[in-house]
């Protein structure tokens, strides 16, 4: 299985004539095959931008991103993406939405139909294949988005705060669903979030980013085996790890506010 991501001193600069904003300042890390990596940080710290660059949807201003040895210059067929907004096409059914990438990439529809139906079953949307998105709840729509991201069996899954718009209970359900999927179809994953507990629950490694400058300040390995279940939420190591991450985020915030005041 491919899916080895190498991010090397990547920067992203926005120059609007009036301000020059460094959205991402020199981030480097390596994602190994099959690793689920959470990118954690407060809002506006450039983590979404970093994800977009990994997916080839935004160009880097400096540095390179290579996937499986090849530099990323644009979107790739072996990368699946999920956004905060499920972005399902309202006029297509659930099944048609899931098969949309298959159609776009001109793969044989018949071959992938089976897989799409399997995925629908797996995420618990049995019977909803012919429904339209407006008939589904937010959580259900994100499940369809997961199926769509998985249908072409990508090596890498990039997820930009996919569950942030959902209510707390649905979010927990979706986290469990994602863990399930990961057990069955292991891939390399980059998952952007600002929820510390979610990051620890889902990931093998957590990369902590801060803003201004938008850099990586830590790379924490999560000490839990897979398969995971909700009981790990109560374990001491879980809360310790969460505390550690929280301190990392806040610690890095303080020097900046002092500098600001000066």
């Amino acid at each position: 299985m491919a899916g080895y991501i190498h991010v090397d001193h990547v920067k992203k600069i926005y120059d609007s004539g009036k301000d020059v904003v460094e959205a991402v300042s020199g981030v480097s890390f390596v994602a190994n095959k099959g690793e689920f990596i959470a990118i954690l940080g407060p809002s506006g710290c450039g983590k979404s931008t970093l994800l977009m660059m990994c997916g080839g949807l935004e160009p880097t201003s400096a540095g390179t991103i290579t996937i499986d040895g090849q530099e990323v210059t644009g979107p790739r067929a072996n990368i699946g993406v999920m956004f905060q907004d499920s972005t399902l096409l309202p006029w297509k059914t659930v099944l048609e939405n899931i098969l949309f990438p298959v159609k776009i990439q001109r793969r044989p529809l018949a071959a992938y139909r089976e897989r799409a139906l399997e995925l629908i079953e797996m995420v618990g949307l049995h019977g909803f294949a012919d429904m339209k998105p407006h008939q589904l709840s937010g959580g259900m729509r994100q499940r369809v988005a997961i199926c769509r991201a998985l249908v072409t069996n990508p090596d890498i899954l990039l997820m930009d705060e996919p569950f942030s718009a959902l209510d707390a209970m649905t979010r927990d359900e979706m986290n469990d669903a994602l863990l399930d999927i990961w057990d069955r179809y292991p891939k390399t994953g980059l998952f952007v979030t600002h929820a510390i507990r979610e990051a620890v629950y889902l990931a093998d490694r957590v990369l902590v980013m801060t803003k201004r400058p938008a850099t990586l300040v830590a790379d924490i390995r999560i000490p839990f085996d897979r398969p995971r279940d909700p009981s790990i939420n109560n374990r001491a190591e879980f809360n310790d790890t969460c505390d550690q991450l929280r301190r990392l985020i806040e610690h890095k915030r303080t020097p900046w506010s002092e500098t600001k005041a000066a």
Binding site: L57, P75, F83, D85, L89, P90, F100, P101, I104, H134
Partner: protein, 289 residues
């Protein structure tokens, strides 16, 4: 998405279902039927009342037939001169349809072109907007100067009037495509053409149809004004002729026929919109009627 317009008092009254029980559900259903019935009966009552008032009012008040004639007289003229009226309706309707079709085709193409090139859009769009806002009808005599009194001038006026709403609505519609959906398509390796056809265009359809509905009425108006001024053929011509001859009944008959065709053509576009609605399974109908 369609918005339902609930009458104000029904929104403010406490829900009947709160009073509990199966009888409540029956009452609710009864109320809904009454409400639905009212929506049909009341306007019909209004129309009937107005017609009666018109009929008996004109007869009783002995108004000069040069001013107004009772609807019965209009009806009899309509039936008597049916052949001539329909014969004259043909050029009007045909010119409207051709004008509309041309305006729609050119308008959609130009609207699409404006979406594809930002620079072209910046250069052309302000001019398009300006043309939309000016009283385009004032240019009717100009078209006569250029194209004479034949169907060309009427047709060009119709296209001129119908074209701008289509361009503007097509452009607005295509630009209204959900950004995230477009980005997602790009992430899936869609080519620019695929993104355009599979994502942008369906999002644009409600706007485009709104523009087409305006365009069909505008095309007809252009043709009618053309007929008023060129006075050659068509229902507009009949109206002018009958006016100067003092034949009020014929004037009214021609007007009613013209309005009827106007409604029919508008209805045809609305029907097309409804059919596509059904095929796509979402409400693309624009929020107006």
């Amino acid at each position: 998405m369609k918005q339902t317009m609930a009458p104000l008092d029904l929104m403010l009254r406490p829900p009947i279902a709160d009073r509990g029980g199966r009888s409540a559900a029956l009452v609710l259903r009864g109320m809904k039927t009454v409400q639905f019935g009212r929506r049909i009966v009341l306007p019909c009552l209004l129309a009937a009342t107005l017609l009666c008032a018109w009929e008996f009012g004109t007869r009783l008040a002995h108004l000069s037939p040069l001013i107004i004639v009772p609807p019965s007289a209009v009806l009899s003229v309509l039936m008597a001169s049916y052949a001539i009226l329909m014969q004259q309706a043909v050029p009007t309707v045909v010119e409207t349809l051709i004008g509309f079709a041309l305006a729609a085709a050119i308008g959609i193409m130009l609207g699409t072109a404006l979406v594809l090139s930002r620079r072209v859009r910046q250069a052309l769009y302000p001019h398009v907007l300006t043309f939309q806002l000016i009283p385009k009808i004032a240019l009717a005599p100009l078209f006569i100067v250029w194209f004479g009194v034949g169907p060309t001038s009427r047709l060009s006026l119709a296209v001129f009037m119908a074209f701008f709403p289509v361009v503007i609505s097509t452009l607005t519609g295509l630009l209204s495509a959900d950004r995230n959906a477009m980005r997602m398509a790009r992430a899936m390796m869609a080519s620019p053409w695929q993104s355009f056809i599979s994502v942008r265009v369906p999002f644009a359809l409600p706007h485009i149809f709104a523009g087409l509905k305006v365009a069909v009425t505008m095309a007809m108006i252009g043709v009618i004004v053309g007929e008023f001024v060129t006075a050659q053929a068509g229902l507009g011509y009949i109206i002018m002729m009958a006016s100067s001859a003092g034949d009020t009944a014929l004037v009214l008959a021609a007007i009613i026929l013209l309005c009827g065709f106007g409604l029919l053509l508008y209805g045809a576009v609305a029907l097309a919109e409804w059919l596509i609605d059904r095929r796509m399974g979402v409400s693309i109908t624009s929020s107006e009627f």
